[in-house]
């Protein structure tokens, strides 16, 4: 998996939340093999920034570009290369872990039973595959959401507080997954206020200031 020339760039993003001017001229770029950690105190706009990147929130001004081209008017193409893990796990409690993956990750890429199983194994919940998501623990639900992210096979990962609800082993798993992803030439942007890959060579920081 190679993502040559897959540079993501944001230029002078400005966004409001109601009356509050949250993002002021935020600019950065991420290259293949890089993990950008967005930090800053609560309420500084980390989630807002990630949602603007995903197009879930409109930016007032500013330009996002992917592979050297503006993504304006090419959202669907860009979205296909974008994997998003938000605050919400996007799971259906009444569906089993496998069904959750089939019905949500399956919208993006065609899945086989083997890929689903190997991914569940990777995030350590293969034995829970046929349980309804409702009966999983908070940490296991997060792992299931991570499995969905992996199956998306996206070049650019957008992770909002990815280690929420995870134990030490879970945090290590997220770190491994991110490192693997960027080592294969992928890009990752995460908002986190815990320690996350703080000493890794691929890490770059973006500090948002109030």
């Amino acid at each position: 998996m190679a993502f040559d020339g897959a540079v993501f760039e944001a230029r002078e993003i400005n966004a409001w939340r109601g009356d509050r001017h949250i993002l002021r001229d935020v600019s950065f770029s991420v290259r293949p093999g890089e993990f950008l950690k967005v930090t800053g105190p609560n309420g500084v706009g980390k989630t807002t920034l990630l949602r603007v990147i995903c197009g879930l929130l409109p930016a007032e001004t500013g330009e996002l570009s992917w592979r050297g081209q503006s993504i304006r008017g090419r959202r669907d193409e860009f979205n296909f290369e974008l994997g998003h893990l938000g605050h919400l796990n996007s799971l259906k409690g009444d569906l089993t872990a496998r069904e959750n993956l089939k019905f949500l990750a399956g919208l993006r890429t065609t899945l086989t039973a083997e890929t689903i199983d190997s991914t569940l194994d990777r995030v350590g919940i293969l034995s829970r595959g046929d349980l309804p998501a409702r009966s999983l623990s908070a940490g296991q639900k997060r792992r299931l959401a991570l499995a969905r992210l992996l199956l998306a096979d996206a070049a650019l990962w957008i992770l909002d507080e990815p280690v929420t609800n995870l134990d030490t082993a879970g945090i290590r798993l997220v770190e491994e997954l991110i490192v693997d992803h960027v080592e294969q030439g992928g890009l990752a942007i995460a908002a986190a206020h815990q320690r996350l890959l703080d000493d890794a060579p691929c890490l770059r920081r973006l500090e948002l200031e109030p």
């Binding site: 979205n79 996007s90 919208l107």
Partner: protein, 230 residues
């Protein structure tokens, strides 16, 4: 791992299949609109007269009003769970045309709530004195009408998913838009009963249905994008 992009049609089928699976596990929720439909139509003979020949005069209209209200009732929560648990967010980001995914969801919803109303309508209509000769027109007009209403209601539900007291608001938004359906649908039934050809109103219903089918996904996807912004 090499990713094969899911074709849009397959993606829409997955959404449809998912809602069917979910409904199968929560069948009681699916049955509620149908029960509501029967209960409402029972109220009319009790409130007016048990005389079937008198009821026949308003029977077509009553069946139509009850069917519209019942399917609207069911539409209120159409997108709520998916927006709250973040599923729609992932649909928006799936790289698939959002309108088709939402249309597939509405189609599943119609099969689960609209279609049972259509199938039940001859029984309900008989209770209101409608002769068997109008069954066909009644069912066909309701088939088109509930289909259109599902799309209109889908737009309304997508707009009101994040707001307070969404259910009353949804009715306020959608019912005025549904008036033409009511006019043409109930009139088609009456015309058939009076021995006139109901082709005119049925064609108009069909035209409105196809218009909703072509423009509805556009409006629904715009509305859902607004609703996931928070």
């Amino acid at each position: 791992m090499s990713a094969v992009r899911t074709p849009t049609l397959a993606a829409a089928r997955l959404v449809f299949q998912r809602d069917m699976t979910l409904a199968w596990r929560r069948w009681d929720e699916v049955a509620q609109p149908l029960i509501f439909y029967v209960v409402v139509t029972t109220m009319f003979p009790l409130a007016t007269t048990p005389d079937l020949s008198a009821l026949r005069e308003i029977g077509g209209g009553v069946v139509w009003v009850a069917a519209l209200l019942a399917s609207l009732l069911a539409l209120e929560s159409l997108f709520r769970a998916d927006v709250e648990d973040g599923t729609t967010e992932q649909w928006v980001l799936s790289g698939q045309p959002l309108g088709y995914l939402l249309l597939a969801k509405v189609a599943a919803h119609w099969v689960l709530t609209g279609l049972p109303l259509v199938i039940m309508s001859p029984i309900v209509g008989t209770g209101l004195g409608l002769p068997t000769s109008v069954w066909g027109v009644l069912m066909f007009s309701l088939l088109l009408g509930t289909g259109t209403l599902s799309i209109l209601g889908g737009i309304g539900a997508a707009l009101t998913v994040g707001v307070r007291r969404g259910s009353v608001l949804l009715s306020l938004l959608v019912l005025p838009l549904a008036m033409p359906l009511l006019i043409f649908g109930s009139r088609a039934v009456t015309m058939q009963m009076d021995g006139d050809s109901p082709a005119g109103p049925l064609q108009l219903l069909a035209a409105i249905f196809f218009m909703a089918l072509s423009l509805g996904p556009l409006a629904m996807s715009a509305a859902i994008r607004i609703s996931v912004e928070n």
